[in-house]
């Protein structure tokens, strides 16, 4: 197989990783009926908190754990406002993004100051189960977290469609009145959905700072959270769709990097913009058949 293609596939898998984490996280939130526009901020928080803890303790795994905990807390805080109080989900989500972004930058500045060179830590190593094999070798030379991300797709599908917990989430996202009448605790399950979602989103951010970069920068998330918001619609709120969406977006993004090296004479910003434009186009086509959870964006109140 062509070296270009091998490199492209390997890069696609890597670029798709944070998108899979983020979008699966958003899936839990939205399937239970809550739009979580705080995703960009939570990914940011995940990147920061895991990096800060990892660099202070010297342990990448502790850093990852810190990221997961931060995500759980962020999800829980969001549930206080959107589930318990029922505030407008668009605005509160953006508010949380601004909050966690500001908080992370604040914390970073406090801990690391304003160094000329951004602080680095030795990142996670890649794992290559296929070693030196010609094709499979480089394609499967990925971070452990990448494997986890791809494994999560069938796991999440199973969780949503073949467990009682998943049934509850699906019911609450479609018809919370019915779920309430059936004896389910709508608030608690939505909170759980948000917390799981927050943790996954946070891991998506942690992947960037602990594995891909080994550093934390101002532009580390660069709008990936918003892409996940688009991808969940494109995926029609199904785990399988998340996989395809992340691969398509990741593929186009990875392609963009390589097209530059091939000496195409178009401005490289066009290629940077390409994945976003492709996503908008895909949304337009997919959007017409979209079947959003019926209770999405509606707060539930019992008298």
């Amino acid at each position: 197989m062509d070296l270009f293609l091998i490199g492209l596939i390997a890069a696609t898998l890597r670029v798709a990783t944070p998108l899979i984490f983020g979008t699966l996280g958003e899936l839990f939130c939205e399937r239970s009926g809550v739009l979580n526009l705080g995703i960009e901020g939570i990914m940011f928080l995940g990147a920061f908190s895991s990096f800060a803890v990892a660099s202070q303790t010297g342990s990448l795994w502790l850093g990852l754990l810190a990221g997961i905990i931060a995500g759980l807390i962020a999800g829980w805080l969001m549930s206080l406002l959107t589930v318990r109080l029922g505030v407008n989900q668009h605005v509160s989500g953006l508010g949380f993004t601004l909050f966690w972004t500001g908080f992370s930058l604040y914390g970073f500045r406090l801990i690391f100051g304003e160094p000329k060179v951004p602080p680095k830590i030795p990142p996670f190593l890649q794992v290559s189960p296929f070693g030196d094999m010609p094709v499979l070798g480089p394609i499967f030379e990925q971070y452990l977290l990448t494997y986890v991300a791809f494994l999560l797709v069938p796991i999440v599908w199973w969780l949503v469609n073949r467990t009682r917990f998943g049934l509850k989430i699906r019911a609450i996202g479609e018809n919370p009145e019915a779920a309430d009448a059936a004896g389910l605790n709508v608030y608690r399950i939505r909170t759980q959905g948000l917390m799981i979602g927050g943790a996954l989103m946070s891991v998506g951010g942690a992947f960037l700072s602990l594995a891909q970069l080994g550093a934390f920068t101002y532009g580390i998330i660069a709008g990936r959270g918003w892409v996940c918001i688009a991808l969940i619609i494109f995926a029609n709120w199904k785990a399988v769709g998340v996989l395809w969406g992340a691969l398509i977006f990741g593929g186009v993004a990875a392609l963009q990097l390589r097209l530059q090296t091939l000496g195409f004479d178009l401005p490289y910003e066009l290629f940077l913009a390409l994945p976003y434009l492709v996503t908008i186009t895909a949304l337009t086509i997919a959007g017409r058949n979209a079947s959003a959870p019926a209770a999405l964006l509606k707060a539930y109140k019992r008298e």
């Binding site: 469609n161 073949r162 467990t163 009682r164 917990f165 998943g166 049934l167 509850k168 699906r170 019911a171 479609e174 018809n175 009145e177 019915a178 779920a179 309430d180 009448a181 059936a182 004896g183 389910l184 605790n185 079947s291 019926a294 019992r302 008298e303």
Partner: protein, 507 residues
């Protein structure tokens, strides 16, 4: 032996006292009716029993034990099941998944297993359902059966049915009553909420009448009559508004030909409907809800594009008209859903002006004095209990309907399309609305009345049509119509032939 006892129940919603120190007892093995007008407090009381609401005061005893029911989960555990008017089913899940929703056991969910369980339960209780079907594709009657099975599946010994016959044709009602008799023999207790006197007298043992949140009395069926119950319900001897005498028929003002339309799911809800309405008559279309009335009213109101066919207003082709054009041409539209025709957060005056805004405007700027004056005039004319600057959402259902009437009827429309105009209104408001519709008829407007209330149709209409599964089953002059005949048409088992219908049309 009492299955359920409720003592001193009080429930307030803001300023409204929905339940005022209510005592209610249910004997084991009886079918007990909870009778009352819309807004009397029946549903509120039962929602408290089922744990959906918390009472402000009072206590509940189940099987002799004092119980705190804080959520439906508690109620289900105590053997109380409820089937409401708005089905609590999740449309995108299957029947089996819906039933599995309140199960506690197990982490995993195997579709084959749960479907088998449901099939067994269906056999055991004698209620026919399709376990693997997605709820969104079931008919209303089928969905209700699923609801009832759901309650029995969780070992309910007390079954609360909230207006169960509202969505059933007369023949399906009989099937339901047979099931209730079977339940009674099995020792189940049933609470039957209704406002339909004849049904209550047919199937129930005891009847408790509520009025304005208070218990008026509890009587044995054998010791009372429909008339007495009616008095208890409304507190006065007679009631109701109905048409007086015949009217001479004017020319055809609304003509509908082969109209078709799709519902929200994309299925054909309206199939080749044809009829006409003349000036000076009320043309009533009866039918159980869900047979295409909603789509018909939406097409004629301009909010749904038909999939085929045409319709004319006063000779003008208005088939693809939007609401603004219809208003211009003189069509007065009273929609099924008050909340979808009035903007809750805007004021009474703003809502009234909204439909004809261009008349209240000087170069794009609102003429607030004129808007206010117009609103004040209509408020006094239509006896609306609100001021022009009140937000619509603070008004009662009856007053909201009056605002809609004021906005629509004050324009002297040539055609009036009224969809379920008295749904959810109390007696006073209902009489008022019916009176207004008759007024329009006497004025010479062509009135199309779509109503699920057969009594209403029979009281007001000059000619009656029945709609079933998107088609007109027949058109009969009111003085020839009987409830039985209409009931048969409403359930699709009979139809007046095309020739007979033609005769009626040209009469």
């Amino acid at each position: 032996m009492y299955a359920v006892q409720m003592r001193g129940i009080v429930k307030r919603f803001g300023e409204v006292l929905a339940n005022d120190h209510i005592d209610f007892n249910l004997l084991q093995g009886e079918i007990h009716a909870l009778l009352g007008e819309n807004g009397a407090g029946k549903t509120t009381l039962m929602r408290i029993l089922y744990g959906l609401y918390h009472s402000d005061e009072g206590e509940i005893t189940v099987n002799g034990k004092f119980s705190k029911i804080l959520s439906p989960k508690d109620a289900i555990q105590m053997g109380i099941g409820m089937v409401t008017q708005h089905f609590t089913l999740v449309p995108t899940l299957s029947v089996a998944e819906n039933l599995a929703l309140s199960e506690e056991s197990g982490f995993t969910l195997n579709p084959v297993v749960i479907q088998k369980n449901v099939a067994e339960a269906s056999q055991r209780f004698g209620i026919q359902v399709k376990p693997g079907a997605l709820v969104r594709y079931l008919s209303v009657g089928e969905q209700q059966r699923v609801e009832i099975l759901k309650a029995l599946y969780h070992n309910a010994r007390v079954l609360i049915l909230d207006e169960p016959t509202a969505v059933l044709v007369p023949q399906e009602v009989e099937v339901l009553f047979e099931a209730l008799e079977r339940f009674r023999k099995d020792g189940l207790s049933v609470i039957f909420i209704s406002h339909k006197l004849n049904e209550v007298m047919t199937v129930c043992d005891r009847i408790t009448v509520l009025r304005d949140g208070r218990v008026v009395g509890t009587v044995e069926k054998t010791a009372t009559t429909q008339t007495e119950l009616a008095c208890m319900m409304v507190g006065r001897e007679n009631f109701g508004v109905s048409r007086q005498g015949e009217r001479s028929q004017g020319e055809v003002m609304l003509q509908v030909e082969n109209l078709g339309a799709r519902d929200k799911k994309g299925l054909l809800a309206l199939k080749q409907i044809s009829f006409s309405v003349r000036a000076g008559e009320i043309f009533g279309i009866a039918g159980v809800s869900g047979n295409g009335q909603t789509e018909l009213s939406q097409v004629l109101a301009g909010t749904l594009k038909p999939s085929g066919g045409k319709y004319w207003v006063g000779g003008k082709d208005m088939t693809r008209a939007d609401p603004a054009q219809l208003s211009c041409v003189g069509v007065g539209r009273i929609a099924e859903d008050r909340h979808a025709s009035l903007v809750g957060e805007l004021t009474v005056a703003e809502n009234i002006a909204l439909e004809y805004l261009d008349e209240f405007v000087n170069n794009g700027v609102l003429d607030r004095t004129r808007i206010r004056k117009n609103a004040d005039k209509l408020i006094s004319e239509y006896q609306i209990k609100a001021s022009a600057d009140d937000c619509i959402r603070t008004l009662s259902g009856g007053n909201m309907q009056k605002v809609i009437l004021a906005r629509t009827l004050s324009r002297q429309p040539v055609v009036v399309i009224a969809s379920q105009p008295t749904r959810g209104l109390d007696v006073g408001a209902t009489d008022y609305v019916r009176g207004k519709l008759l007024e329009q008829r006497d004025r010479g407007a062509a009135v199309l009345l779509l109503s699920e209330d057969l009594d209403e149709i029979m009281a007001l209409a000059d000619r009656i049509a029945v709609i079933y599964e998107g088609q007109i089953m027949g058109i009969i002059p009111a003085n020839e119509a009987t409830k039985e005949q209409l009931g048969l048409m409403m359930s699709g088992t009979a139809s007046v032939t095309h020739d007979q219908a033609q005769e009626v049309e040209s009469a």
